[in-house]
Every structure is written in structure tokens, then in C-alpha cells.
């Protein structure tokens, strides 16, 4: 099993508050990792840290055995991060939004973009400005990137927000497919995942407690 991403002794402090520390994990190709825990335990901070948006952390993050900071571009080319905000411009159409994203990564033809939008059930909405769409549809536009970017590592912060039940099923299937094809997914969600593949879980609520009990330095 090939290791894709690993963290050693990760700790995060925000505004003088220790969110978590001594966090270790290892993510192999084919893994789906859920970051769980109640609100305010640092789930989003951990995801942002892993995506490279949080420069202040302790510990080491390695991508394919190499420190991410040593070869940041290689890591970023292989990462697809969808954050809390979907990153969709309301004044642009779904197609235009995706075209911009693809300019940052690999070029995609209009046909590919249309197919991706069809897969997230947005056929017929390709050419309308996003401000006429619902919040769930915005999220779907962002999720259409999952079909376009072909990055092995997905980091998804609450990908099911505002998505209807049918959509959740499809995205779960998408995540499972990505994993069986050898990709890896890290995500946070308050939703009970039902995946056909094994799910790894890091519960930040627990790691903090463990830390308080077991920490003697």
C-alpha cells in the first residue's frame, strides 16, 4: 500500500488556544479519512493546514514521503481542495467558473466541462449566472471540479453542505470510486457516511482529551 500523505506530531494553536496536538496519521492510496469531532475542535483548521493554507503549525506533513514545503508545487498540482466557501463567482456562469479553475490546473475542453456539469446534475444551467442558482447548486459547481482535475488527493471541507439526499448518495459514490481507483480523500462532515469502502476516522474531540490525560511534559 503506497502512502500518499502523512502527518507527524501535528499541533495547531489558534489565538492562544490549543486546538489539537500530537496528531499522527497516515493516508494511503485508496483511503478515505474522515475528520470528526464537535464544533470548534479544529477540523477546518486541520484541513487548511493539510492544504497548505495555515503556515503556522508544528509537526511534519509529508506528501509521498517528501516534506510538502520542500516541493510545494508538486504537492499542489496533486491536490484538490474545496473549502468551506465553494469558491464560485456569482456573476459568472458555472461554465465560466470551471474554465477559470481549469486554467489554474489542466486545460479542459468545453465538452469536458459540460460533461462534468452534467454529472453534478447541472445540465441546462451551464450558461446562467450563478446568482440565479441555489446554495446547493453552487456547491455542485465546485464539486464538478472533482471530475475535471484528476488530482489523487482530495481535501473536502463539508462537501455535503446544502446538497440534497440524492446528491449526497452520488457524491459518496464518487468518493468511493476515487478511492478504489487509488486516490485518497480527506473530508469533514456531520453527515453519517455510508461508503462501500473502509472509512478511517480521526476524532479531534477525542485526541484533545487523550492529550490532556496522557500529556506529562
Amino acid at each position: 500500500m503506497q502512502e500518499l500523505l502523512s502527518g507527524q506530531g501535528l499541533a495547531c494553536e489558534r489565538d492562544d488556544r490549543l486546538l489539537f496536538s500530537h496528531l499522527h496519521f497516515s493516508l494511503n492510496c485508496g483511503d478515505v479519512l474522515q475528520i470528526a469531532g464537535p464544533n470548534g475542535t479544529g477540523k477546518t483548521s486541520l484541513l487548511r493546514m493539510l492544504a497548505g493554507l495555515l503556515p503556522d503549525y508544528e509537526g511534519e506533513i509529508r506528501f509521498q514521503g517528501e516534506l510538502v514545503n520542500d516541493n510545494a508545487d508538486h504537492f499542489r498540482e496533486n491536490l484538490l481542495f474545496i473549502g468551506h466557501h465553494p469558491g464560485i463567482k456569482l456573476n459568472l456562469t458555472p461554465e465560466e467558473n470551471l474554465r477559470w479553475y481549469q486554467s489554474l490546473y489542466r486545460p479542459a475542453s468545453d465538452e469536458q466541462i459540460r460533461q462534468a456539469l452534467a454529472k453534478v446534475k447541472l445540465t441546462g444551467f451551464e450558461d446562467v449566472p450563478c446568482y440565479t442558482l441555489s446554495a446547493g447548486q453552487h456547491r455542485r459547481v465546485a464539486l464538478a471540479r472533482l471530475f475535471l482535475q484528476a488530482a489523487p488527493l482530495w481535501i473536502l471541507d463539508e462537501p455535503f453542505t446544502a446538497i440534497d439526499q440524492g446528491g449526497v448518495k452520488e457524491i459518496e459514490q464518487l468518493i468511493a470510486d476515487h478511492a478504489t481507483q487509488g486516490g485518497a480523500v480527506i473530508l469533514t462532515t456531520h453527515h453519517n457516511l455510508s461508503l462501500p469502502v473502509e472509512l478511517k476516522v480521526i476524532d479531534l474531540g477525542q485526541t484533545v482529551q487523550l492529550k490532556i490525560e496522557g500529556d506529562d511534559d
Binding site: R14, D15, D16, D56
Partner: protein, 249 residues
């Protein structure tokens, strides 16, 4: 070898605790030096230095104006330097020193402006003249205000330190450009008969007390800087064991 030693020292500097202890030992020395130098300098410059043949006694204000103006600029440079160290090596102490620099520098700039205005009244007959040096000082004061305002606008202390480090670095790049452009602008608009500083070769008994005052101001800056940084360290490290231990004593 010497290089290794330097790095070891450099990293020790990065520890707030070490800085707190070492500065505690240094402060009395710097404070004493400040008092001695400023007293000697003040008495010498006000009572014994000869009068200026053109301006009479009013020229004596340069013994405060010039050191304050020199300090105002070099504090900005120190602030940017510490900011850069904080940015590159993520050294907390450097961030705190940079933060402590800003208000001291702003005060020095204000003193330079104020003394310039006081000197201007008998010399130019007006409290304010758009003299090149005074205008540059005024802009420097604006730059300090910017850094201080940015520092207080952030909730996170770390982000505040980094953002103001970037701003002070941008400022440092700009200070020579601003100075040059203001001097150029000044010669274009009004050839002043008296310049605040460009003195034709000052006699020894005039500039020696000035030198003492400048060194005295530097010692004063060092003393206040260490005191402010110590406060900042206590404030930021208040949850650590060593500060707790210090406070419970």
C-alpha cells in the same frame, strides 16, 4: 566555527525567556549610560557650546532635533529588520521587538517635527515651513501611524506582526525614494535660505556635544525598547510556566 557560534546565539535570542533574562541584566547599564550621556550632552550643548554666528542661541535646538531625527529613521530600519527576521525565521522575540519599536519611533519623529517647528519660528518667522527635512519627517510619521494602525487592526497577534513586518519592509524600500523625491520637490518650489541641518562645517566644540547627545538618544532607545519588549513578552507568554513562576514570586 564563529559562524556556528553566531547561529547558536541567534537561536537563543529567539527564546523569549532568554531575552527576558538577558535584557533584565542589561537595562540598568543602558539606563545609567542614558542618564550620564544625556546630562553631559545637555549641559555641554546648552551652556558651553558656542553660539551660532548667524542664528544665535536658537540653533541649540538641533541638539535635540538632530538626534531625534536620526533615531526616527534608524528605528524604522530596526523595526523593518526585526520584522524581516520574524518573517523569515519565525522568531517570536523579533516580532515583539518590532512591535515595541513602532511607538518609540513615532515619538522620536514627533519630537523631531516639534523641535523643527520651534526652531522654525525664530529662523523662518513661521511655525511650519515646507522644508525638505521636515516634510520627510512628516511623511515618516505617517508611515509609523500606518504600521501602528495595522498592528492594532488584527485580532491575531501573529498575523498583526507579520502584516506590519511586510508594511515596514515596503516602507523601508520607500523611505529613500520619498526622501529623494521630497528633496527634489523642495529645490523646485522654494530655495530655502536656511536648512535645518546642512550646516557648513561645524566646529569641533559644536558637534562633539551633538555626538554625545546622539549616543545618549541611542542608549535611551535601547533602554525603552528592552523595557517595552519585556512587557510584551510577559503579556504574550503569560500562560507559560516560566512567566507563571515569575509572577508567583
Amino acid at each position: 566555527m564563529a559562524f556556528d557560534k553566531f547561529w547558536a546565539w541567534f537561536h537563543r535570542m529567539g527564546s523569549p525567556k532568554w531575552f527576558y533574562e538577558i535584557s533584565g541584566r542589561w537595562i540598568p547599564w543602558f539606563a545609567t549610560a542614558t542618564i550620564v550621556l544625556l546630562t553631559v550632552g545637555a549641559v555641554w550643548s546648552l551652556a558651553f557650546a558656542p553660539q551660532d554666528y548667524q542664528q544665535g542661541n536658537s540653533f541649540r535646538i538641533i541638539y535635540i532635533h538632530v538626534p531625534a531625527a536620526i533615531l526616527a529613521q534608524s528605528i524604522f530600519f530596526s523595526m523593518a529588520l526585526c520584522g524581516a527576521i520574524g518573517l523569515i525565521w519565525k522568531m517570536k522575540v523579533a516580532d515583539m521587538v518590532a512591535k515595541s519599536c513602532a511607538p518609540i519611533g513615532a515619538s522620536m519623529t514627533f519630537i523631531a517635527l516639534f523641535t523643527g517647528a520651534v526652531w522654525g519660528k525664530p529662523t523662518w518667522g513661521a511655525w511650519w515651513v515646507w522644508d525638505a527635512r521636515l516634510t520627510s519627517m512628516l511623511i515618516l510619521l505617517f508611515l509609523y501611524f500606518g504600521v501602528i494602525a495595522l498592528q492594532s487592526a488584527f485580532d491575531s497577534k501573529q498575523s498583526a506582526a507579520r502584516a506590519s513586518a511586510i508594511l515596514s519592509l515596503v516602507g523601508v524600500v520607500n523611505i529613500p525614494i520619498i526622501k529623494y523625491s521630497v528633496e527634489w520637490w523642495n529645490t523646485l518650489h522654494q530655495p530655502a535660505t536656511f536648512k535645518l541641518t546642512e550646516k557648513p562645517a561645524m566646529p569641533m566644540e559644536m558637534w562633539l556635544p551633538l555626538l554625545i547627545m546622539v549616543i545618549g538618544f541611542y542608549c535611551f532607545f535601547a533602554t525603552v525598547l528592552m523595557m517595552r519588549t519585556r512587557n510584551e513578552i510577559l503579556e504574550r507568554e503569560k500562560r507559560t510556566q516560566w512567566v507563571q513562576g515569575l509572577l508567583s514570586k
